[in-house]
């Protein structure tokens, strides 16, 4: 062993280069030094981590600069910063997921899932806080509202988005109309969600009198956000359907619309389905458009065409901003985090389903 190490040290190829373990030595030194320094200014995990990161980057760069030269030092500095960026980006993700799990899990119960906030007042929350009884009230009405509104938004967006994408790919000839639709679909993906909500509110306000707020208005608002996503993903999927399939169908004398319905769409269906699922996942968590279109309800409302409705996002929003009992906000906070957990689970589930659908029923194009 020693002779091998010795001969490697002597090699001209590795002369003037740091051994691999040097980075770990510097890291260990930086962590120890940072612990000492942060103890001086008042110890906390955050200051420790910050000092350790700074010491490590500076120290490792200096060591590289003295042994390997300036260009290598710049290179390793860039490497550390890029790795640091990634670790920094993970922090909020981990923190959000941890927070939602930690604070949301205690609130998830049968009662939470299957009762509404109907009749749950500040007094109820106060007595729960004083007597230690379980927190009453739940998000059943909000879950129903979320599902209803999202269902109607999907019913509106999917046909429109699908047909528009078919027009762009199968019928569009690259003329001004096709280019205009492509361009404005792109622009529409950038519409702020609250503007979509205001649009629906303004539209129904003009048609049915000001202050018209129902679940259906919210569904229209969500469709404005959802249609461009459906169009874009469907377009991408139709593009990868090989032309040979279409030509084979035409060669058999099949009409264009039959070709699209029987050949093109079945080939692309998995991608389209997963695109639609992702679009649903995107709009199910929207809050702002619901706030201005569906109002807020604490009781169960199955009818999207009349009466105010609550969804999980607005439920979270109001439970935090205007707690049911201003003096004992813990009950409301608990309900809000439980609802947040429920919402995140729904979104993650939809994302997983989309991935699964895309993978399991992938178009059999490559041969």
């Amino acid at each position: 062993m020693t002779s091998a190490t010795l001969s490697r040290r002597k090699s001209q190829l590795t002369k003037g280069r740091l051994p691999r373990y040097a980075v770990w030595v510097v890291l260990a030194a930086a962590v120890v030094l940072a612990a000492a320094v942060s103890a001086l200014v008042g110890f906390s995990i955050v200051t420790w981590a910050v000092f350790a990161a700074v010491f490590f980057v500076v120290g490792a760069t200096l060591v590289t600069a003295t042994v390997e030269g300036g260009r290598k030092a710049t290179d390793s500095l860039a490497t550390y910063l890029v790795y640091g960026c990634f670790l920094l980006a993970l922090l909020p993700l981990l923190s959000v997921i941890w927070t939602v799990l930690e604070r949301g899990l205690p609130g998830i119960s049968y009662d939470f899932l299957f009762t509404s906030m109907n009749g749950v007042t500040g007094a109820v929350d106060n007595s729960a806080a004083e007597n230690g009884t379980p927190v009453l009230g739940g998000a059943y009405h909000a879950v129903i509202g979320t599902l209803q509104i999202t269902l109607w938004a999907t019913l509106i967006s999917v046909p429109v988005g699908l047909l528009a994408a078919i027009y762009l790919i199968e019928y569009g000839t690259g003329g001004p109309l096709t280019r205009a639709i492509t361009f404005f679909v792109d622009v529409m993906t950038g519409i702020p969600s609250i503007v979509a909500g205001l649009f629906a509110a303004a539209l129904f306000g003009l048609l049915f009198g000001p202050g018209t707020r129902t679940g259906f208005v919210a569904a229209v608002a969500l469709s404005v956000l959802m249609i461009p996503v459906v169009v874009r993903s469907t377009e991408e999927m139709l593009k990868i359907v090989p032309n040979e399939l279409r030509e084979a169908s035409y060669a058999l004398g099949v009409r264009k619309w039959r070709t699209i319905m029987k050949v093109v769409i079945p080939t692309a269906i998995s991608g389209i389905a997963s695109g639609v699922t992702l679009a649903i996942a995107r709009v199910i968590g929207e809050t702002a458009p619901i706030l201005v279109t569906a109002g807020f309800a604490s009781a169960i409302n199955w009818n999207v065409f009349s009466g105010w409705m609550s969804t999980l996002p607005t439920f979270i929003y109001y439970q935090i901003l205007t707690p049911t009992s201003p003096t004992n906000i813990d009950a409301s906070t608990q309900r809000a985090w439980a609802a947040a957990l429920l919402l995140i689970l729904m979104v993650m589930l939809l994302n997983l389903v989309a991935r699964f659908v895309a993978r399991m029923f992938a178009p059999k194009t490559s041969r």
Partner: protein, 310 residues
């Protein structure tokens, strides 16, 4: 197509073709109509604001002086978000495209995309309950030692619910957008350019600086612009995190407001003139984000033409 007797098999199929193509055309037209009517309906509902007596507008000095502070607030929040998220997003994208081990890169990509899957209201709740109290400690320090800079002027907010916190939460929300777009552009860099740079003896960073970044510059700019569009229109994070108020320079005191949050906080109780005032504010936001998005798309499409990459 041809009018060959073999393909014309009867009227029934013919009308089916016409109906179907008509339906697809109608759907395409509907999208244009929706975007157009968004502008028209907002304008119609906002009109009373512009013709109303300036004294009746909130603030009592006309729509201009009502909207200007919240426009500036919106721009400040988006600017903070972009200043943080752009360098970070480029770093994360570089990590995934050029630094991470090949096998793990895709998984890391999914992990960052998870950031985009979390609903905005959850970010708002997180910023309100977790991030703001943490940052309040840092703000107290900033106010004590850097208070002479106007944006860090004390006294710092005790709750941490300030413009800077809102900007940081927005930065987390636009990070996945900037990351995923720049990542795609970085991966499109011609391999020959990269290998040529490495063959000349360039280190990895020199290769990225000389081959990858120049190639990706238009893509990065448009990714940042799309992130800007998202940050300008984001509502819930600001509405929950920021304890709003009048426009002011200090970012670590409560105060300032953005258009989207102003609408969300006041719309549920608004009626009459106040309603059309808020819709007018929404119209302003719509115009701003539309302009930002159109510029971003224009940069992307121009880039596509001359790069030859598809």
């Amino acid at each position: 197509m041809s009018t060959n007797s073999l393909t014309s098999t009867g009227r029934a199929g013919d009308s089916g073709d016409k109906i179907f193509s008509g339906a697809t055309l109608a759907a395409g037209g509907l999208i244009l109509a929706v975007l157009f009517s968004v502008a028209v309906f907002l304008l119609v509902q906002a009109l009373p604001t512009f013709s109303a007596d300036p004294a009746e507008i909130t603030g009592g000095a006309g729509f201009g002086s009502y909207i200007l502070p919240i426009v500036i607030g919106t721009v400040i929040a988006a600017a903070i978000a972009l200043l943080i998220a752009t360098p970070l997003g480029i770093g994360v994208a570089l990590f995934i495209s050029h630094y991470a081990p090949r096998r793990l890169a895709q998984i890391f990509g999914y992990v960052i995309d998870l950031l985009a899957a979390i609903p905005s209201v959850v970010y708002g709740a997180w910023g309100y309950a977790v991030l703001a109290p943490q940052l309040a400690i840092a703000y107290a320090w900033l106010a004590e030692y850097l208070g002479w800079i106007p944006i860090f002027e004390g006294p710092a907010s005790q709750t941490g619910r300030t413009m800077l916190t809102a900007g940081i939460v927005l930065a987390v929300m636009v990070l996945p957008i900037i990351t995923s777009l720049s990542r795609e552009i970085f991966l499109q860099t011609p391999n020959l350019h990269e290998e040529a740079a490495l063959a000349m003896g360039a280190t990895r960073w020199e290769m990225i600086r000389m081959a990858v970044l120049p190639f990706a510059r238009p893509g990065i700019i448009s990714a940042a612009m799309l992130g800007l569009g998202r940050a300008l229109g984001e509502t819930m994070a600001v509405a929950l995190v920021l304890s709003g108020g009048a426009l002011q320079a200090s970012l670590i005191q409560s105060g300032n407001q953005t258009i989207a949050a102003e609408i969300a906080l006041n719309f549920p109780e608004a009626f009459g003139l106040r309603l059309s005032e808020l819709i007018a504010a929404g119209l302003v936001l719509f115009v701003i984000t539309l302009a930002v998005n159109i510029i971003a798309r224009w940069i992307i499409s121009r880039h596509k033409e001359f790069s030859g990459a598809n």
